[in-house]
């Protein structure tokens, strides 16, 4: 009985590790773009009843060097760093690379009105928010 339960937990643990390793294997794709010398920023998407907020982590960036473009379905960012960052990439690459900017295009989880986007930059964090509250029609109860 104990052995069986233990096997079950081991299996769950192995799955978490498999996920972890998939994530690590895909890391270069998700965090770096060597060809364009750009880093893909860490970001977070939050959706509430009122707002959709995308927050980017942008160390080494000045406000005036951020360029944002939004459509109803996507948000693109390009931001030059105030100085290039040299990083050694692992895996089969094992070389130093210089990165000069952040670049990322995000597919938004819901349709937005890009005209009503607002962006705020504090301490290297950029928060882009859209209103998700739509004025509705009153529903009559009969």
């Amino acid at each position: 009985m104990w052995e069986d339960e233990s096997d079950l937990f081991d299996e769950m643990e192995r799955r978490v590790h498999a996920l972890l390793h998939q994530t690590m294997a895909g890391m270069h794709d998700s965090l770096f773009d060597i060809d364009s010398k750009s880093l893909k920023p860490l970001y977070r998407i939050e959706v509430s009843d009122e707002q959709l907020i995308v927050t980017f982590d942008l160390p080494y960036v000045r406000k005036e060097d951020i360029s944002l473009t939004s459509t109803e379905e996507t948000l693109s960012i390009e931001a030059k760093m105030k100085r290039p960052v040299t990083m050694r990439l692992g895996g089969s690459i094992q070389r130093h690379f210089q990165f000069e900017k952040y670049s990322k295009k995000i597919r938004l989880p819901l349709r937005v009105n890009p005209d009503d986007a607002r962006a705020m930059f504090r301490n290297g964090l950029l928060a882009v928010s859209y209103s998700t509250a739509h004025k509705g029609n009153a529903v009559k109860v009969v």
């Binding site: 643990e13 590790h17 972890l20 390793h21 994530t23 690590m24 080494y60 504090r122 964090l125």
Partner: protein, 249 residues
Amino acid sequence: MEQTRSRVHIIEEAASGLSRPNIIVGVPEVGLVGTISASYLIQQLNLPEIAFVDSDLMPQVIVVHESVPKHPVRIYGKGDLAIVIAETPLTPRLSSEFTAELTRWARGKEAKIIIGVTGIPSRKREMSAEDKSNVFVVTNDVRLNERLKQHGTRVFEEGLMVGAYAALLANCMTAGVTSLTLLAESLQQFPDPGAAASVIEVLEKLLELKVNLKPLLDESEEIRVKSRELMSTTQAVQQGTQKPAGVYT
């Protein structure tokens, strides 16, 4: 005789000569506060590596630093200070067995205290212009609360702790080892060196350490860039397994 079937082992690489140590533990969770502060302290205090953690539950990961392969969870220390650092996120099963083994090891060393250092997610941190943040305290020795208040900390009065630090505190409570968790208000999903500096300030006063915090704050942008991969993996593991503690103030 206590029967254990631990699947985690702490392997000492050399006679450490530790004597009744204070043990600081930093593993990657909220804002990477634990790993950033442990790594900075090890470097600033020039502590030698004394042990590593071996387990079949550990992800099959070796960290290569300047061509030298290293286990991802290691212990550094000398005299009355030991620092445990993890450079890989710990899954729940591993957290639980690892903290149990660490508590046994600490008892064997007659440790004075085990101090977990980490972050607590804070929304206002994202919009604050401050480098430093508030530090909350949870301890199984209530007398410490008073002493720590003098060092500018706040008592964590209500709420849940989850994850590796909760497991550590739980094990210490069971084993009767004095334990303290320092939780700096922190960015949750982005590395937060400022929050790490805030916990180090408390440790400096509590343990009478001499640490120069200026390089940590001056190089915070570099640390944020270089810890992106660990933050991303940590986030993936945490999303798959648990939700972090919430602030109730």
